[in-house]
């Protein structure tokens, strides 16, 4: 069980309010991702849930029980840190067994659980090494191993993949998702990478300056961003945001159109512009189009086979059914 409820939680450091009153419910077994730009309070929020920081006001409920003043170890949560925070002088075996040893579990049971975790995480061959002798991905797995042996009611991940290289990151992303499917335990995952958020989450919480901008499934957020911030943050490449006359034609202050919802032609279309940089990914190509009179650049995503050269004039046609409209305050219009 791991249902976590935040009830009007606030956090301030001296005069600086990092988290204004915030309500959030994380259901049991859900994979929730906190995503937002650096300094948006997502790590602070995670540390509040973990108990590493005290809330300034409000309450945290874990499985219906008020956990606000319970010390971190008693909350039944396990955390994986950004730096992994492995104990450098202990072997992998001792690192993983540490929480069990602290709980006073007997040696045989400790060993059984460590071996089991090591087996799941492919660490059996490394049990007698020290963290310093492992690669980044292996260290990451040890940190996860240390979390799973405790059989916690929820896992907390604080940007766990940010120290890994791109290829490993994709691999670990899959492994963590796989682990969630197997364990069906609540997981809260903090990241600033919207790709990680989109690919892993059951529920994404978009944070901005301590506020929750929107909560929803990845596709909800993609299809119906509640405001300009979420619109600009979710989706890669970023949504094109257009203001002025073109927006007024659609009775909006700002319109947003995703790069993949523009069709391209060399002869005719609603808008026209000059091709700037083209990024070829093989499967797709991103064109950065200038001189459209709409915005500084319009990004278009097209099939990899379509090719235009730098300086070519092209015509763009937006799909009106997937156009997003926002009012002056930045909120979504129906």
């Amino acid at each position: 069980m791991g249902r976590i409820v935040l009830d009007k939680v606030t956090k301030s450091f001296g005069d600086v309010t990092v988290i204004p009153p915030l309500d959030l419910t994380i259901e049991d077994g859900e994979f929730t991702v906190f995503v937002g730009p650096s300094g948006c309070g997502k790590s602070t929020l995670l540390r509040l849930i973990a108990g590493l920081e005290d809330v300034s006001s409000g309450a945290i409920l874990i499985d219906g029980q008020d956990a606000t003043s319970i010390p971190p170890a008693k909350r039944g949560l396990a955390m994986v840190f950004q730096s992994y925070a492995l104990y450098p002088h202990m072997t992998v075996r001792k690192n993983i067994a540490f929480p069990l040893r602290m709980a006073g579990m007997d040696k045989a049971e400790q060993n059984r659980r460590v071996e089991q975790a090591a087996d799941v995480l492919n660490l059996t061959a490394y049990l007698d090494r020290r963290p310093g002798q492992l690669s980044g991905g292996q260290r990451q797995r040890v940190a996860i191993g240390r979390a799973i042996v405790r059989e916690p009611s929820a896992f907390l991940f604080d940007e766990p993949l940010s120290n890994l290289d791109a290829a490993l990151r994709v691999g670990m992303r899959l492994e963590i998702s796989e682990m969630h499917n197997r364990l069906q335990t609540t997981m809260i995952y903090v990241t600033h990478d919207q790709v990680e958020a989109m690919t892993m989450a059951d529920k994404i919480v978009v944070l901005h300056a301590g506020h929750i901008e929107q909560v929803g499934s990845p596709l909800d957020l993609y299809r119906a961003p509640k405001n300009l911030f979420v619109a600009g943050f979710i989706g890669s490449p970023k949504m094109n945001l257009i203001e002025g006359d073109e927006a007024r034609k659609h009775d909006a202050h700002t319109i947003g159109i995703r790069p993949e919802h523009l069709s391209v032609s060399s002869s005719e279309g609603t808008w026209s512009g000059v091709v700037g940089v083209a990024e070829h990914l093989g499967s797709d190509t991103f064109f950065h189009v200038h001189d459209t009179g709409l915005a500084e650049t319009i990004t278009v995503r097209v099939d990899g086979e379509i090719s235009f050269k730098h300086g070519d004039r092209i015509y763009l046609t937006p799909r009106n059914d997937v156009m997003h409209r926002f009012d002056k305050a930045g909120d979504r219009l129906p």
Binding site: A73, F81, M90, P99, M102
Partner: protein, 288 residues
Amino acid sequence: MATKASRSAARLMLAPAVILLLGWMLVPLTMTLIFSFQRYLPMRGGFLDWVGFENYVRFVTSSAFWPAVQATLIIVGGVLLITVILGILLAVLLDQPMWGQGIVRILVIAPFFVMPTVSGLVWKNMFMDPNNGLLSHLWRFFGADPIIWLSDASMASIILIVSWQWLPFATLILLTAIQSLDSEQIEAAEMDGASALSRFWHIVLPHLARAITIVILIQTIFLLAIFAEIFVTTQGSFGTRTLTYLIYQRVLESQNVGLGSAGGIYAVILANIFALFLMRIVGKNLDR
């Protein structure tokens, strides 16, 4: 230093320092060695004869030798024990955020800047004086008879004075080591259910192991040679005659340079045994 030219340039540049250091060490060492094989009494006829190993035999068979070695080891061991244990506790304490941290840290480090002679005199006259010392006032305040520190508890007094001097050094090194501990490790241990005491035992102390060996190594080398604190207080009496002090007495008080030099060579050998032993421990600790 990749190329041949830069390697030889480096050697050339290093040469003056190496030669100076070698000369600085080799000349006195060689002279000591030469004196140790002579019967050399400056005030009683100067150089008299080459005597082979006679000085060496006389030095170790003298009744003062083994007590001196013992006194040296007790002082070194006692001071190491006190400074390392108190140093760790102080470092943990000073690492906590508190009001006036900067000033407190400077105050803690201050004794290290006091010259050994001065600190010896300050302790002797201001704290340990049987009539006017602060400690005897304290004892009398509680209705007890003042302890005559330097004669009744001479060894403890010397250890106290030297520890007071070296505690700041240990604290400073250990404090910087504690500050380099990744705070996420402590937080991880906290999440893992470790109490404050087990966090200290399982995380902080192993992290300090390297710094502790360095403190022990450096302090041992300096503590084997303490002299001023003994010279201005007990003058080597009441069982506080260390090997260093014994050599001083042989050379300057008895004016027997040959015998003192032989003792000097023993001291060099003893220090090297220590250094070798400690370096191996440090080496083991630095390996990982």
